[in-house]
Structures are given as C-alpha cells and as structure tokens.
C-alpha cells in the first residue's frame, strides 16, 4: 500500500519533471514577451532528432565513448534548438511585438513548417536551403556595405534578391534531386528510436517495482536545468536585464537596457531549453515529427496554472499536474479507495477516469476549477499593472 503510493509519487514526479523541463522555456518566454510559442513542441522535436543524430555519429566510435553520447547530445540539442529559436525570433516574432494572438498563429505556422521539414528533409533540400541563405543574406550584407542609400532601396532590392536566390535554390534542388545520394530522406515520416546508453537501462529495485534509471536521469536533468536557470536569472547580468524587462519593459528601455537583444537572448534560451527537453523525451520513447504535440498542451497548462514570471509557480504547477495526472490515470487513487466499501461511488467515479487520456479530462476540469479561485495562477504578479 505504502509502496504503491511511493511508486505512484515517483512516477508522477518523473512525469512532472518532464513537464517542467518542457514548460520552463515556455514560461520564461511567456513571462518576458507575453508570447506563447506554439512551435515549442517542434523545437523539442528538433532536440530529440539531434539526439538521434549524435547517437548515430557516436556509434562507430566504439563502446566506452558511445555510452556517453548523451552528454554530447545535451549541448548539441540545446545549440540547435537555440539557433532555430533565435532565427524564429529575429525573422518573425520581433515584428509582431505587442500582438500576442498573431504571434500565436505565426508560431503555429512555423511549427507546421518544421514538422513537414523533418519529414521531407534530404540532402538536396538542405543544400538548396543553404544555397538560398548564402545568396540571400550574403547579398544583403554586401549590398548594405556597398550602398549609401541602402535604407531607401532596401525593400525593393530584398524582394529582387529573394526571388533570384529562391530561383537559384529551386534549380539546385531540382538538379540534385536526380542524384540518389541527395534525394534519400534523412528521417522520413517514420518514428526513429533513440537507444538509451547501457548505464541508463534498468533501474533501482524497490519491492516488486523498479525505479528506472532513465526516469531518475530526467529528474536530475530537470533539477540541473532549474538550478541553472535560477542562477542565470538571479546571479548574472543578463538575468538581471531579463528580470527588469519582464517587470517593466518601457522603464527598462528608458534605462538603457537593450530590450530587443534581451528578447532575442531569452527566446534563444527558452528554445534551447526545449532542445534539452527533447533529449529527455527521446529517452522515453520513439521520436516522430509529431512528438512535440503530445507534450505541448500540458506544458501550456503548467504555464497557465503556474502564473507569469515566477519560476516557483512553474515548478509547483508542473509537479502538481504530473502527480495528479499519474495518480488518477494509473488508477492508483481508485485502487487505494477500493477496500473502503462506503466510498464505492467515489471509487467508481475514479475508475471511470483511470486511463491516461481520461485523466487529462479530469485534470482539465480541476485546472478550470482552480482558475476560478486563482485566475492569474499560483503566484499572480502583484501591482496595479496586473489588470492590463
């Protein structure tokens, strides 16, 4: 009975820590810019695919090195996701500042593109994309140095250059596609599997259950991420700036904080955290183009319940949602109530919700009920501006 509860708590904790690592980046970005990034799940997916690629690169290196590929995958996944996030912020989101609903739609567009990109990426697509970027941004840089009257010409020239380099890239794509080395898909739409290194398989036996090492690893990883973020936000210069902009953007700008650089940095950081989360979910199961979608809405709920601009709210919300989801979904509550005859209707009620998907129904109802008392989350931002 006690063991069952402990196991339930552990599993809930591990679900919660996955949620937390997913929601962490989301919460920071939302707190700072008021932007919900619907492409967050796809950034996770990119992190997971990076893990897959790193694993395959390390495989030929032999056993002692290979078993530690995960430590190379973590920074790589962070970097890849952070770079994509940076490009997303510089390319799209910064033009939509102050229009959160439009940003929501734009990031959904990005998420669709990323999903299809992973499905249909091959050598020729990647190369032609590289050619396009090289030509377009190369021309941009060169022209902006050469011409004095650049700011007047800018829009017209960029259209021309864009169309031209697009055409060249399309041509490259067509030519290369006839060559089988370039036209084989890298990942295709099928799921890929990341095999956990040997030291992450198995687990600590506890009675007749097991605490899997992979889950423990994820909990530790989440802890490190949380501590790292806490340190970064509270002890570093950029963290100070981020907190300042979160509290009052205009005032920070007046005091000389480069808000657009803060935005870019924060977005990259949040995206990088999504990449790290991607490594974690790669350890839990196979990875496909739609993997991110499975986690993303729960992560949104964590942000909604946790409240804006407070790390502790996010942590508590993630753990609470994780544990409650598991306890209801696995039927632990129902099993615990079973021996008590007087509570039979209650038990049946919980049995009805004792599947993973039905647990979500219940948890959503609880969240809505919770928001009736605390509409701005666990830790609501204080002050008179909170109403706006």
């Amino acid at each position: 009975m006690v063991l069952q509860l402990i196991q339930g708590l552990f599993n809930g904790l591990s679900i919660g820590s996955v949620l937390l690592v997913v929601a962490l980046g989301l919460a920071i970005v939302f707190g700072l810019m008021g932007v919900i990034n619907l492409a967050h799940g796809e950034l996770m997916m990119l992190g997971a695919y990076t893990t897959f690629v790193v694993q395959n690169t390390f495989r030929p290196l032999g056993e002692p090195v290979f078993s530690f590929y995960i430590f190379a995958a973590l920074p790589m996944a962070f970097l890849v996701a952070a770079l994509v996030g940076l490009a997303l912020e510089r390319g799209v989101i910064r033009f939509l500042y102050g229009r959160p609903l439009e940003t929501l739609l734009a990031t959904w567009g990005v998420s669709l593109i990323l999903r299809q990109f992973v499905r249909s990426v091959n050598g020729s697509l990647a190369l032609s994309l590289g050619v396009f970027c090289l030509l377009f941004f190369g021309a941009w840089v060169i022209l902006s140095r050469l011409r004095r009257d650049w700011s007047e010409l800018r829009n017209r020239v960029l259209w021309g250059v864009g169309i031209l380099s697009g055409a060249i890239a399309f041509f490259t794509h067509k030519v290369l596609d006839s060559n089988p080395t370039f036209s084989t898909l890298w990942f295709s739409a099928r799921n890929v599997d990341v095999t956990a290194p040997p030291w992450l398989r198995g687990g600590i036996p506890l009675g007749n259950f097991q605490l899997p090492y992979a889950r423990i690893f994820i909990i530790v990883l989440t802890l490190i991420c949380v501590v790292g973020i806490y340190w970064f936000l509270n002890r570093s210069n950029w963290g100070l700036r981020i907190r300042a902009v979160t509290q009052n953007r205009n005032m920070s700008a007046c005091l000389g904080i480069p808000t657009d650089r803060v935005d870019a940095l924060t977005f990259a950081l949040g995206s990088g955290l999504a990449g790290v989360a991607g490594v974690a979910i790669a350890l839990l199961g196979s990875v496909g183009p739609n993997t991110g979608q499975n986690y993303i809405v729960d992560a949104f709920m964590v942000v909604v319940v946790g409240g804006v601009g407070n790390l502790f709210g996010t942590i508590i919300a993630a753990m609470a949602i994780g544990i409650v989801t598991y306890l209801i979904g696995s039927g632990t509550i129902a099993a615990l109530l079973l021996p008590i005859d007087a509570l039979k209707p209650v038990t049946e009620f919980f049995l009805f919700f004792a599947t993973t998907s039905m647990a979500k129904v219940m948890v959503f109802a609880l969240i809505i009920a919770f928001l009736q008392f605390k509409p701005a989350g666990i830790f609501a931002p204080k002050g008179r501006t909170a109403e706006l």
Binding site: L105, A106, G109, Q116, T355
Partner: protein, 393 residues
Amino acid sequence: MTVDILSRSQSLKRERKRQFLLEGIAIVAIAIFLIGVMPLLLTPFRLRLLGRFLSLAIVALGIDLIWGYTGLLSLGHGIFFALGGYAIAMHLQLQLPPGQIPDFFPLYGVTELPLFWQPFYSFPFTLLALILIPSLVAGFLGYLVFRNRIKGVYFSILTQAALIVFFNFFNGQQKLINGTNGLKTDTNQLFGVVVSSQPAQFAFYTATILILILLYVLTRWLTSGRFGRLLIAIRDDENRVRFSGYDPTAFKVLVFAISGGIAGISGALFTVQSGIITPSAMDVAFSIEMVIWVAVGGRGTLVGAILGALLVNYARTFLSEQFAEVWLFFQGALFLIVVTVLPDGILGWLRSWQWGKVRALLGMSAPVVTYPSLEQDPEVQKERQEVGEDGNQ
C-alpha cells in the same frame, strides 16, 4: 445648422438603405447562381466538395464574430463543430427498425441504447440539440473563463486544452459513441432517402447555401447595430467598456455561445455531406486552420470570412491533389504571410489599397479615411505638402 445636420442624417440613412438593398440583391443573385447554375457546371463530386466548403464557411462566420469583432481567439471551435456533427449523426444512426440499436454497439458488448441517445430519435429535438448543445457548452466554458477576466493568450490556450480534453473523451468512449471510428452517416436514411444519394445531397447543398445566407444576415445584423459596436469596443479596450458601465463578461459569454451554436450548425451540415464524423474533427490543427480561413479573408469582415474559407480549402484540395508534400509548407507559409504582411486579410488589403486606386482610375474622388475637417483644412494641406507626405492616396 440643425436643419443641416438633420438633412444629413436623413441622407445618410437613405445611403445606408440603398447599400442594404444592393447587398440584398447581390446575395440573392449569388444564391441563385450557386443553386441554379453551379449544379450544371460541376460534377456531383465537385458539387459535394463545394457544399462541404460552404458549410465550413459557416463556422468561419462564427469565428469572425468572436475573433474579428470581439477579439477572442478561440482555438477550440472544433469542439462545437464536432458536437453539432455528432448530434445529427446520432439521429441518423437511429433510423432503424424498432428494437434495433446501431450496429457498432454489439461490438463492444453494449445491448441497450445509452440513455442520452434516446432523445435523438426525434428530428426536431436533434435540430434543436445541434444548435443548443454546442452553444450551451460554449457558454458554460466561456462563463467560467471570462468571469475571472482571463483573456488574450490565456483564453486561446484554455480553449485549445478544452479541445484536447473533448477529443480524448470522444476518442476513448467506444461504448458510448464508437470512439476513434466515429459515426457514419452515409448509408443511413433521412425521411426515407439514403443520405449519400444524389437528391439528398443536393438538398443538403441547397440547405447549406440557405443557412449560410441566413447566418450571414444574422451576423451582419448583430455586428452592424449597437451590439456590434459594443463587441468592437470590447475588442479594442475592454477596461474602458467596463468603466463605461457595461458588463463585458455577459456580452463575451453571449457572443461565444452564439459562435458555438453557429459552429454546431456548420458541423452538422459538414457531417451529412462528408458521410462521417470522427473525433478527428476535434484535431488541434483543424481548429487553428479555421482561424486562418478568417485571417486570410480578412477578419472583421463577414464576406472575408466566407471567401477565406472557400479560398483556403480550394487551395488545400488543389495542392494536396497535385503535390501532397507541399501542402503543409504552404499552410505554414500562409500563417506567416497572413500575420506579417496581410494582417487585415485579402479583403482588408483590397479595401485599404486597391479600392482607392481603382476609384482614382475611374476619376472618382478618393474616399476620405480621416476626419473630413482634417482633409479640407488648408493649413493641414499646406503642411503636408511641405513635409512631402502623400497622405492617404
């Protein structure tokens, strides 16, 4: 002076009357064209497709009402769409000899009709239910959210979560509503006619057009009067509306419920024309797509919502028939372009730029977009010339 204002307000009234008349004539002409001429031009398959897209245009109207006018971005309209679809599908499933139950029930060991299926034997009840159930659900959800002044992105995210919750519920309950497989409608009968047969489909097509017009008129009426101005006020500055003594919550709940009801009607019409309703109608992607129809056409313009729904859906069929891979790229790009380059959609773009140019070409005076006094003030004109700004066309 008073006489002047009076006569002006009268001429304004006359002008508006004339516009309404023109609009009415245009609507009737389009309806006659769609019902009378289109069936001759298109194959039955294409006609059915058009009917389906027109029924999707109905849900776009509902979304325009809450997003374009009231500023609430719902990512969960799939719920109401599917609820309407399930209501009509349940009625069609029950068109059986007495004593029998729909054929999927025995597969899961259910021998008796669940209680909530019983009222769907009656056609009038079903008609009422497919409007009322979605709007009640929308109203309830809206009440719980709006009364706490949860708005903006929070609202969008909560509606999306609600969507997933409903999806999970419908997906998981095989014994109640056949789970993932959904409910088929095409082999059932309505008033003794098989639903998928030619005459029945044509009847649905006609009904779709008539209902679309009816709902267009309804939403046009709602958005043109005081109610519409209040909705726009809520969109633009909710706090000021509250300080002016209105209760935005009630209006938001009401308009969300209306929008949900419209989505329900749309779902029912779509279901009978596509032959099946499954939980995939509550797919996350589908609900966001509905929003993009409105955005493409132009939010805050009802015609734009209808046009956008038709355009995007035709682009979708065309592209996925020709090159299946490109569609998602195209759709993603569409989201980005509409949001960054065309925030007012096609219709807004036409209105703000091209319409002025067309009028100028025809030698008419450019429409005055700012305050008339500002346009006619010689000092302002002089200053403008000095600054070198070409103003509004």
